[in-house]
């Protein structure tokens, strides 16, 4: 148990005498019923089996932040990092600020934010490995880095930037609410360390002494309907109508008098000049996702066309199955898909823990996507292997593979779309994500199949069919982009900031993408209408494939690099992505004390994998598998 010092000052102790029944979202503050089996169990903190005697042990706790008082002194962050032994580049709590007014009528509002231990923990629901647990004790949401495989999806879905992905260790860690201190009646370290009398802690909805309100809003704080965060604010000093951010995010907050809330609005900090930024666009951490999503969509598209073409009666495609090109085409598709999956897996912080991706089928769209795509990969592999044999039984098996592959592939793609449509990333949370992904399924699938077959087949029907399908795919994508741009431009969210970044930092690349996309659409459309000679077509198609693929690559890269999460405002250096990137580019980050780290290589550690296999009893493996299958 955590040791309480004999001279522990009074302010460090929890103070809740009475508590409310329901929180502001209408949820019970008491998290379990009196006789629930979850009660009177040890939290097993560092293998200590004691049970804390905190009288409010089963009530939802939360931080209370008095924004009127915060002086931005970093004591909370430091106390947290000291307690959790965090290196400079990791922080479970961060202080940023917004500012407003004109000298000397100037106001800075500092915001200290850690995990809000939400009622609806999207991190827990998103994590494919089930590294997260929301405990009945204090309602703490705690993540276990030993389970995590470093995909970083929790960092995408959390609106508050609470989970921290360590680029060196390749794993996530986060605020643990100092449950060890709570067990002995002490407030979390950060709260006890506060020098502005701004940070407090207690059973949620309880208003600390000398404070008057428990709001869920303040300028710069994302909307609470995403996760129902357990943080309450006092912010009673009047603020200026417009509060700006000092970090690089092109957003400011404007007061809406009718609702009395602050709404995000574009702050065109860098003007409207337009740049290429190819390097940043094409070599980001998310390049693996670009390769994975595009190759999966292309191969799945081509596969579906091949195996399902008999349904709408696309005979020219069905005919391919009998031709000599079938096996080589399938093999190339298989290599491409394997490459995509390999890139995705190796971008994990701990690639050797890949098998944990299925752990959270119950909640996580990512887990379901991984399951769907993995199943598709397996059945597709079977299909490719079996396609080399002509025996009728084997052909039967191949048909089973085709059916199951199609189903799992489509499910995988469905969840691939879902996993990006997350509230904390407004730029993605739009139907355009679907048109882009499904559009690519057709356009890249069609173009790829064409690339593998048209030069070797004289069938003009095949050409027209594939060109039409590719065109439809491109058309769907173009429509999506048009509406997406219109919607984002006027969005009152981080979406407008993404739109701005796309228009400016990547403006020239964005225009190039648009031109390529429209050119591809028109060229392929005219190809399908004109039915040129085979020789011309066989030279043209690879060019058109290249056109389509380039448009898709730029498009998907833009999708990943321009997204802006609904994070808390940062400070000028700390938690300012623009400065971190600058430090990485200029080499400032080479000094450890700058607190910005390059991503370390994350090798596939066979030794760890074998060790896990060796040390996990069969029974445990079976239990875990059962849990996965039965959604436990």
């Amino acid at each position: 148990m955590f040791e309480v010092r004999s001279d522990e000052p009074k302010y460090a102790f929890l103070w809740d005498k009475e508590t409310r029944e329901k929180n502001q979202y209408g949820q019970d503050i008491e998290l379990t019923t009196k006789d629930n089996i979850l009660r009177n169990v040890s939290l097993n903190i560092n293998d200590n089996s004691d049970i804390g005697e905190n009288p409010n042990r089963y009530k939802q706790h939360g931080f209370y932040f008095n924004a009127d008082n915060c002086i931005g002194c970093h004591a909370c962050e430091a106390a947290c990092s000291e307690k959790n032994d965090n290196p400079a580049h990791i922080s479970f709590r961060s202080v940023g600020y917004v500012e407003g007014g004109t000298y000397p009528d100037y106001q800075r509002l500092n915001i200290s934010m850690a995990c809000n231990h939400c009622d609806d923990p999207v991190c827990l629901k998103g994590c494919p490995t089930r590294a997260y647990t929301k405990y009945a004790e204090y309602g703490a949401v705690i993540q276990d880095p030993d389970i995590c495989f470093g995909c970083g999806y929790c960092t995408w879905v959390c609106p508050y930037n609470a989970p921290q992905l360590d680029p060196i260790k390749g794993e996530v860690s986060k605020c643990n609410m100092c449950v060890d201190r709570l067990e002995v009646g002490l407030k979390p370290s950060c709260v006890s360390a506060c020098l502005g009398n701004a940070l407090e802690f207690g059973v949620v909805e309880n208003i600390p002494e000398n404070r008057v309100e428990a709001k869920t809003e303040m300028p710069g704080f994302p909307t609470t309907d995403i996760t129902q965060p357990n943080i309450r604010f006092q912010q009673s000093v009047p603020t200026h109508r417009e509060m700006t951010r000092t970090d690089g995010v092109p957003l400011k907050y404007h007061r809406d008098d009718e609702e009395g809330k602050f709404k995000p609005e574009l702050d065109a900090k860098q003007g409207y000049s337009s740049h290429w930024n190819w390097k940043k666009l094409l070599t980001s951490h998310e390049s693996a996702h670009v390769i994975f999503t595009l190759s999966t969509q292309a191969v799945l598209g081509a596969f579906l066309l091949l195996v399902l073409s008999f349904i709408p009666g696309l005979e020219s495609i069905s005919a391919l199955k009998a031709g000599a090109l079938f096996n080589p085409a399938l093999s190339i598709m298989f290599v491409l898909l394997t490459f995509g999956l390999f890139k995705l897996n190796m971008h994990l912080g701990k690639p050797h823990r890949f098998y944990r991706g299925f752990n959270n089928l119950k909640h996580s769209p990512l887990s379901r996507e991984i399951a769907g795509v993995s199943a598709f990969y397996t059945f597709f592999m079977g299909y490719v292997a079996l396609s080399f044999f002509n025996h009728p039984t084997i052909q039967m098996l191949a048909a089973v593979c085709a059916t199951l592959g199609s189903i799992s592939g489509v499910l995988g793609l469905y969840y691939m779309v879902k996993l990006y449509q997350i509230k904390a990333r407004p730029f993605w949370n739009h139907w355009q994500t679907a048109t882009s992904f499904y559009g690519s399924l057709l356009s890249l699938g069609g173009a790829l199949l064409g690339l593998l077959t048209i030069p070797f087949s004289a069938s003009s029907e095949l050409l027209v069919t594939l060109a039409t399908l590719t065109c439809i795919g491109l058309g769907i994508e173009i429509i999506g982009h048009v509406f997406h741009t219109i919607d984002m431009r006027k969005a009152s969210s981080e979406g407008v900031a993404s739109w701005y970044i796309q228009r400016t930092q990547f403006g020239k690349s964005w225009i190039t993408r648009n031109v390529l996309l429209v050119t591809a659409f028109i060229s392929i459309a005219s190809l399908s209408l004109s039915s040129p000679q085979h020789l011309i077509a066989s030279y043209l198609w690879p060019c058109l494939f290249l056109l389509t693929a380039s448009a898709a690559a730029i498009s998907r890269s833009l999708f990943f690099v321009t997204v802006i999460p609904t994070t808390m405002p940062g400070a000028f250096f700390w938690k300012n992505k623009q400065f971190s990137e600058h430090a990485l580019e200029t080499g400032l980050a080479e000094m450890e004390q700058v607190g910005v780290e390059h991503e370390a290589p994350h090798p596939f550690r066979w030794d760890e994998l074998f060790h896990t296999i060796k040390t996990t009893p069969l029974k445990e493996m079976a239990r875990q598998t059962r849990n996965i299958i039965f959604f436990r």
């Binding site: 979850l38 002086i71 962050e77 100037y106 929301k134 600058h582 400032l588």
Partner: protein, 734 residues
């Protein structure tokens, strides 16, 4: 375990397995927070915590203190003594004897050839009081140079000088407990949340219990200014005018404490005559605070039951620094606010042991607030040390800021720098570089061998840092507090105490001057010398100090022998009528005519340049620059500039710009913020080759403290941002 989870995973939380806590006092600022440093079973230093029952910080620590335990093995520490013949050569590692012998020989050579005063000593506010005392004995009793001063000239000299002029002696009369009693607090050029966060917290706690008006005088909208009831955004360098006009209103409206003035002060007539010239309407034209506000503030202050003035560098670092302090003392005296609970004139000091050096280092005099000018003092100390009193100079020598120009003029040929970094901390870096380069012999004694001045050193003495050694320090509220040793000195480094004694031996062949063997015995010498003086600490011992978590002076042997325990806090000076340190017991009210000699913005250099501290850094960043969890909040220098001014210059947020003054230039990253006036910029002073390349540093006539906060600069947009980034990176690389 909600959301359907059945199996409970064990929770892993970092456990540093600390088995041993050692009591120390923080080695950064002068707040004097009590810190415990934790070691695990292997003896590795792994953690820090504020001492819960220490009155100063009550368990709290600021961002620097929380990570102070990471100092011990930070990069750049001095491992072994270094020597070289000339600065163009590389250093070679040497042993202690060789290095100290050579250093002593060089000092002797220079003193013999050019006179005793041609070798100067510049010390610090960072080492322990016993070490200061020992250094004083070496310098005053053995070396005999009169050019001996501390870097406290850069921060506290004006407070010292002002206190001496008003009260007859140095020594801040108030304490932190005053916040709990005051009815009005005026903070002058003091940004507590950033500079002294723990003192801020003490103030905030008091204010939450019992609200009192807070008036902040600062040209920037600091967090404290923002929280103030009244913020006076003053024109830089014009505080004395504001003080005079406040006094004008107080006298004009008869708000002064006539009884107090009569019983405790002299000089009221001349003061009244002087401030009569400074009516609020006239003052407004100079200091930028409108006349209604001046009257309003004067009434609020004078009519408050008890009121206090606190100040920091905004007052001290000015050509009217000493006058500013006297002006605040004037205000406090006229309103009867000295030595009362909640009524005081309290300088918030800079370095952890700035007070220790003021009290005991013999820098500007002799130990225990004694002066060289006083023959009795010379006699007393000479006898105590076994030094011929005639060996002492009869008058104080050069101040730190005059020692450097004396290098320029050739009067000073050799220099010993102790735990101070003038290359970063002093105004006009280009000039300081030239001076250091001119020295025949420079010996640098520091915990860090990458400290910038080492570039010009001939010998380097690696010193232990903070809790690698033992001793006491005195904080802002005159509290003597204890640092116990946590770990032995790093590699071959030695404690400053040992270095001083070792070097002293080389000038003490006949062993005439006695040095105590241990730090504790040295403390006993100081106790003895403190008897009957303002700073009487004869009742204290190291053990009692640790037990009480620091004791404020005075605490006398008499009190101790009567078993009168020292109070936990709340000890004040000058609590009885006419007990000031002048022979007549009366404080001096001093008329302060305002002379405007600052470099002011003009067409060529249109911005006021202001500099100051950041909470995450300490002084020249030799320590905090290497602690990631401090440094990351500002790893490179920046410049606050008003967005309206930036727009006119075409400067973008977070782009590099060049600042140019009549002295030099600096590259910084622009931070556009309305926190600063349109005609001003602010740059933190922690960074090497940065703001002090620009500053002028005109000296205060009384305190010789430089005016860091008033100079004129222009800002240039930089087209080649990549080159600027590269330049900036090179200057920040450790």
């Amino acid at each position: 375990m909600l959301f359907g989870r059945k199996q409970k995973n064990p929770i892993k939380i970092a456990d540093k397995k600390i088995v041993d806590w050692t009591y120390t006092t923080c080695g950064y600022c002068s707040t004097g927070c009590a810190i415990e440093v934790g070691k695990n079973e292997q003896g590795d230093v792994v953690g820090t915590q504020g001492v819960g029952n220490a009155d100063v910080n009550r368990g709290k620590l600021c961002v620097k203190g929380i990570f102070e335990h990471e100092l011990f093995d930070s990069p750049g520490r001095g491992k072994t003594p270094l020597l070289r013949k000339q600065t163009s050569e590389n250093f070679r590692e040497a042993n202690w004897d060789e290095t100290l012998d050579h250093t002593a020989d060089e000092i002797k050579r220079i003193q013999k050839k050019y006179g005793r005063d041609a070798f100067a000593v510049v010390s610090t506010g960072q080492i322990f009081t016993e070490e200061f005392y020992t250094l004083g004995k070496v310098v005053r009793g053995l070396l005999g140079t009169n050019n001996y001063d501390g870097n406290t000239t850069l921060c506290m000299a004006s407070a010292v000088s002002g206190y001496k002029r008003s009260f007859g002696s140095d020594g801040p009369p108030g304490c932190y407990e005053d916040f709990e009693h005051t009815d009005c607090l005026m903070a002058w050029g003091s940004n507590l949340p950033e500079q002294h966060p723990i003192i801020y917290w003490r103030m905030k706690e008091a204010k939450e219990k019992r609200d009192f008006p807070l008036i902040v005088i600062d040209p920037r909208v600091t967090m404290l200014a923002q929280f103030a009831d009244i913020h006076l955004a003053i024109v830089p360098g014009t505080d004395v005018v504001l003080m005079n006009s406040l006094l004008h209103v107080i006298f004009a409206e008869g708000l002064e404490d006539k009884a107090y003035i009569k019983a405790n002060t002299v000089g009221i007539k001349a003061l009244k005559e002087e401030v009569a010239n400074c009516d609020p309407a006239t003052a407004y034209k100079i200091c930028g605070i409108d006349e209604d506000t001046i009257r309003n503030v004067a009434r609020l202050y004078a009519k408050a039951g008890v009121a206090m003035n606190i100040w920091t560098m905004g007052i001290n670092q000015s050509t009217h620094g000493s006058d500013g302090v006297v002006g605040l003392n004037n205000l406090s005296l006229v309103s009867g606010n000295v030595g009362k609970p909640g009524g005081t004139s309290l300088s918030i000091t800079g370095q952890c042991n700035a007070m220790g050096t003021r009290e005991w280092s013999s820098c500007s005099g002799l130990p225990g607030y004694r002066t060289l000018e006083n023959p009795e003092h010379r006699e007393e100390i000479g006898k105590f040390w076994n030094v011929d009193p005639e060996f002492f100079p009869k008058k104080r020598g050069l101040a730190q800021t005059d020692i450097f120009p004396a290098i320029e003029t050739g009067q000073v040929k050799g220099l010993w720098l102790i735990a101070t970094n003038p290359m970063t901390s002093m105004a006009n870096t280009p000039r300081i570089r030239k001076m250091l380069d001119k020295l025949e012999f420079l010996v640098v004694q520091d915990a860090y061998e990458d400290m910038e001045c080492v570039e010009y050193a001939h010998a380097f003495l690696p010193a232990a840092v903070w809790a690698e050694k033992e001793g006491v320090m005195t904080n802002t509220e005159r509290r003597v507090n204890m640092v116990r040793q946590v770990v032995p000195p790093y590699k071959q480094s030695k404690s400053d105490f040992d270095i001083f004694k070792e070097l002293g031996k080389r000038f003490n062949a006949d062993n005439k001057v006695k040095f105590s063997d241990t730090v504790a015995e040295t403390f006993d010498e100081m106790r003895e010398l403190s008897k009957g003086r303002l700073l009487d600490m004869s009742g204290m011992t190291h053990e009692l100090i640790e037990e009480k978590r620091g004791i404020q002076w005075p605490y006398t042997e008499e009190q101790a022998s009567k078993d009168e325990a020292p109070p936990t806090g709340g000890k004040r000076l000058y609590t009885k009528n006419a007990t000031f340190s002048f022979p007549d017991g009366k404080a001096r009210l001093i008329a302060l005519p305002f002379i405007d000699n600052n470099e002011r913005p003009d067409n060529a250099f249109p911005f006021w340049l202001n500099s100051g501290r950041l909470v995450e850094h300490f002084h020249t960043r030799t320590r905090t620059g290497k602690v990631g969890n401090n440094n990351k909040y500002s790893p490179i220098p920046f410049m606050e500039i008003n967005p309206d001014a930036a727009r006119q210059l075409g400067i973008e947020h977070q782009s590099y710009v060049r600042c140019v003054s009549r002295r030099g230039d600096a590259i910084v990253m622009a931070m556009l913020t309305q926190r600063i006036a349109k005609d001003a910029i602010f740059i933190p002073f922690h960074f090497y080759d940065c703001v002090n390349r620009l500053t002028l540093g005109l000296l205060d006539p009384h305190s010789r403290q430089p005016a860091f906060k008033q100079a004129a600069v222009r800002i240039e947009k930089l087209e080649d941002q990549e080159a600027a980034a590269q330049m900036n990176k090179e200057m920040r690389t450790y």
